[in-house]
Symmetry: C2
Subunit: 311 residues, 2 copies
Amino acid sequence: MLDVCLLGTGGMMPLPNRFLTSLMCRLNGKMLVIDCGEATQISIALLGWGFKSIDVICFTHFHADHVSGLPGLLLAMSNSGREEDVTLIGPQGLNHVVNGLRVIAPRLPFNINCIEITPDKFLEIAQNGILTAGFQISVSKARHQIPCFSYRLDISRKGKFDPERAKSLGIPLKVWSTLQKMGYAKLDGVEYFDHMVMGEDRKGISVAYCTDSRPTKFLPEFINEVDLFICEGLYGDNDKKEKAAEHGHMIYSEAAEIAKAGNAKELWLTHFSPAMTNPKEFLRNARDIFPKSFAGYDRICKTLTFEDEAK
Amino acid sequence: MLDVCLLGTGGMMPLPNRFLTSLMCRLNGKMLVIDCGEATQISIALLGWGFKSIDVICFTHFHADHVSGLPGLLLAMSNSGREEDVTLIGPQGLNHVVNGLRVIAPRLPFNINCIEITPDKFLEIAQNGILTAGFQISVSKARHQIPCFSYRLDISRKGKFDPERAKSLGIPLKVWSTLQKMGYAKLDGVEYFDHMVMGEDRKGISVAYCTDSRPTKFLPEFINEVDLFICEGLYGDNDKKEKAAEHGHMIYSEAAEIAKAGNAKELWLTHFSPAMTNPKEFLRNARDIFPKSFAGYDRICKTLTFEDEAK
């Protein structure tokens, strides 16, 4: 199962009652964060999942409201006793931004590995994704004022063990458990592989996160069939489409169109303009298009489970 | 009159109910901030004095909890329509730190003037202070893990106009008002200066701000007779003196000793350890030494007036 928490739902600046948009995911005790603006660490403290197990931090882009909280977050992780390497993923320039911000966090008790999505690397990453901490991470080019990426996280699930097949192939009972857990076993000089006895991969869990961006032609396919689509809606009011577009953002109805076209299961809207004091007010504009639309709020959480897996 | 607000009272990291230690002062519509950690801008938003009139930002030192909020604050000032120059004051390395952090705030609609308190400049600044936006700013070397300064703000007050003296000197009534306001007047080729008719300077208003530091031998004189002494007390418990000292900090009783020795009018304690959940609990340890000690809390405010000036 995958725990998902939207740490904040604001855009531009942190507000007294609305932190900046950021996503935290927890899988088998490992955690991944996407975006980290000023004060994101306060929302993490309120959530209570801790700082120590944050293995990966992804950045959509380098506008301050998505990255200014990085030095504070790294220091909070350091104070929590983290010593294992941390992976940072973001657009080209990631090293430059991280080095700049680390002027106030020069010494950390862990190594930082930066993966820059350079134009050269983009195709490779788009094709194969990045597998880290159990998360299969894919990216899609967003359309914003500066280079920006949308993220998709897939948690894969192996097929079921087929005992009838194992019996018919004469695989000794002794190695069944090892074979399922490790994918490989050896007994009396004979090798056994999991593909011999495992059914096809079962449906996994998937989440997509898109902010800041205009709608793109890639998005419906990129988010295809995700369990949860988290997407910006700077404004809810349909009349503000042009204003949103001017700044490389979208409105609720545009996010809902993408959710519908991509056949997402559920949509959480986020990255609300500070001028929009009640994000729920315009929810109908999304629901008329995609009924399972929700206005995100700080620390809205959901546990996504595999099919037929108990919560 | 001078409005003073302690925006936060925490040390190390911003907490859900305690922002990082930072001071905001407002004088004749101009504002000065000392220290600016992550999320300080949220406390400023809660305070409601606005961002546009922040003319000066001072830094005690460059540990992240005193400076990480700078890019966000500069952007909030930019969003508020600020276009006038902003002065930053801090230890040597200020330009390096500001340039590093501005990797995420490269374009601003105002100029930034950095005043670095280099060893060369220290003596000059210590002697003459820096007069900006109506604040007479002095600094004193603190004793911390890295170079750090305490700040003192003095608001001077001219003497009273002496009409009897003006009459006896034959100064024409016509120039009295100009002379009081501008300090100089000229009529029919004759020059008049304010020292001819103004009494001695009257007592001004003063505030001192000291964090992070061990007690120093300079502090009692530096804070001499201040109306308000804001001083760190990482811990209240007397038994934690050694622990505080190890990290270049002090405890309540040490702050109170300085307030007493310097004959301050009032002491606000701040920069509390995240481990200290109830800063009031140990207040007696300060009050036994200096009765007018108070445990600061987020956005504690006070208006300091000149003697005989109505609030």
